[in-house]
């Protein structure tokens, strides 16, 4: 059995098992996540050594059949999912058992892996529906009124998004007579095709929570349980962003009209998210708004990439996605631990006197460094290549916006970190540090990973430079 077959089916089988055997769910889920990581690593190694790996399902050639294509971009995305998944599973396996978490998470994992590997638009649509439903389930898991309401809005928005994608696929069939990835470049060649492409992109903008269609997202990400928020913010929105990037790569120069819009929306999101994060009163909400801002930055990077076959700017976008996934997951896990220790997540109350800052605060601070994009994190390397490419292309106004966004992100994140550095008269002499928990290990591990990824950025970049299939 090939690695590709296993990496898409293993999580689905694990989903079934965890649903069937709730008492063993954590063990099965953790095992599946570990196996998934091994498979992802092995697949990445194969891509590095021998170029893209493809597999025609049932030996039926595309367009009739569906092909899996594991190229560098897919490999990086799989690795991103595997790493974040490991940490989240660790936290969830050690934390209080919540019935229903594991089947949903396993379904999310399977859908993401399938999504990254698939080279068929309709198949991707179906994968999106699994992803959307599972993500909503993860949101609703918290069980609070706010979470349920957020879950409903999330599902509605997600469904509108995926139906727009479906409409675009239907029109793509009408224009080009096919729905595999080959159709994308054909779509860019006619006005009618571009309408189809625009509809797909519009659907993805909703699903990726890109400004101004992000309205559903802060509530959903901030009301979910920590492990769920980490998955939603770090991975689920990446599914849609990945497809935007993929379409832009497949479409080449012909997707210019979409990329320009994307860049403008991205810049808007970067500033709007930052502004809301600056004013947020609750920690989770701040982190959720920061996701809006970061998605804006990534979209901007995809948007300014010019003709992706001529510039490496899209690699910066992929690197930013990777870095954001690790750092944001770490941040949500850390926030979960902070809120657990303090009993609330009000930012103004973070410097409480009964408790001294613990490992979770430290993890938050390290993750913040990655999100701001200070050296030597992967976020910094991503921004470096982004700005360097923009200098070559003369995109000074974009650079100014990126720097503004960076400064704002430093401003809103330092609001939190400075309160984490509480000490002196604000802390009672008898105050204790919260004890270490597994969640701290997961958060700190991910945050450190995001920090050190910058030093090992050569690896993902080499992977990304593997030529397309």
């Amino acid at each position: 059995m090939s690695d590709i077959s296993l990496i898409v089916l293993l999580p689905l089988l694990a989903a079934v098992l965890t649903a069937a055997l709730p008492p063993q769910a954590a063990a099965v889920g953790a095992l599946a996540t570990a196996l998934n990581a091994l498979l992802a690593a092995n697949l990445g190694r194969q891509i590095l050594q021998g170029g893209p790996v493809t597999e025609a399902i049932g030996d039926w050639a595309a367009p009739l059949g569906i092909a899996f294509v594991a190229d560098g971009l897919a490999g990086v995305m799989l690795a991103m999912t595997a790493i974040v998944g490991l940490a989240v599973s660790l936290q969830a396996a050690a934390g209080p058992a919540r019935a229903g978490f594991w089947p949903l998470w396993m379904a999310t994992l399977g859908a993401l892996n399938g999504l990254f590997l698939s080279s068929d638009l309709f198949n991707i649509y179906v994968a999106f529906e699994i992803l959307g439903l599972a993500a909503v389930g993860l949101t609703a898991l918290a069980g609070t009124r706010a979470a349920l309401r957020a879950a409903f809005d999330y599902l509605t928005a997600g469904l509108v998004g995926s139906l727009l994608v479906l409409l675009g696929i239907a029109l793509s069939y009408s224009v080009t007579g096919r729905v595999d990835m080959e159709a994308v470049v054909l779509l860019t060649q006619s006005d009618t095709g571009r309408i189809a492409l625009a509809l797909i992109a519009a659907g993805l903008v909703v699903k990726a929570a890109l400004f101004p269609l992000h309205f559903w997202m802060p509530a959903a990400h901030s009301s979910a349980a920590p492990a769920a928020s980490a998955l939603l913010s770090a991975l689920v929105v990446k599914g849609a962003l990945y497809l935007v990037l993929r379409l832009s790569l497949e479409g080449g120069a012909g997707t210019e009209f979409l990329r320009n819009t994307l860049a403008v929306l991205g810049a808007g999101g970067m500033l709007w998210g930052a502004w809301n994060a600056l004013r947020a009163e609750r920690l989770k909400l701040l982190v959720a708004h920061s996701t809006v801002a970061q998605i804006g930055l990534i979209a901007l990077a995809i948007g300014v990439a010019g003709n992706p076959f001529e510039t490496g700017l899209w690699q910066a976008a992929a690197l930013l996605m990777l870095s954001h996934a690790l750092a944001k997951a770490a941040m949500f896990l850390a926030v979960g631990r902070i809120a657990e220790a303090l009993g609330h997540d009000r930012i103004s109350g973070l410097n409480r006197e009964e408790l001294r800052p613990g490992p979770a605060e430290f993890a938050f601070a390290i993750a913040a460094i990655s999100l701001v994009g200070l050296p030597p994190t992967a976020g910094f390397i991503g921004k470096w290549f982004l700005i360097e490419g923009l200098i070559d292309e003369g995109g000074i106004h974009w650079i100014a916006l990126i720097l503004l966004g960076t400064a704002l992100s430093a401003a809103y994140l330092s609001r939190v970190v400075s309160r984490c550095l509480r000490g002196g008269p604000h802390v009672a002499a008898t105050a204790q540090r919260p004890p270490w928990r597994t969640g701290d290990v997961a958060a700190l591990g991910l945050a450190t990973g995001a920090l050190l990824l910058g030093l090992a950025a050569a690896l993902p970049i080499t992977l990304l430079e593997t030529p397309f299939a």
């Binding site: 009739l64 309709f122 179906v126 529906e129 959307g132 439903l133 909503v136 389930g137 609703a140 009124r145 349920l148 309401r149 879950a151 409903f152 599902l155 509605t156 469904l159 509108v160 139906l163 479906l166 409409l167 696929i169 239907a170 029109l171 069939y173 009408s174 729905v179």
Partner: protein, 91 residues
Amino acid sequence: MISDFAFLLSGAGLIGLALFRLATSADLLMRVLGLNVLAIGIAMVLLVAARGAAGTDAVPQAFILTGIVVLVGVTAALLALAERVAEARDE
């Protein structure tokens, strides 16, 4: 051909109606209805496009079948959530 055109107009009309309703209604049940009508409209448009001289293309038919099953699943989830939201509001 004229029949096809009529059904195309019908499909586009369903999509338009559904989008209009989704954009103007805050009612949870209406949103669910609107999303279902939207999906059916899309299926109709796809089916019209699948028409050819030698009959209707089987692949888009399979897409629509898949879409219908997906939709009933999502609808069930939406309604379950909507019921709980309403219940939580009553409490």
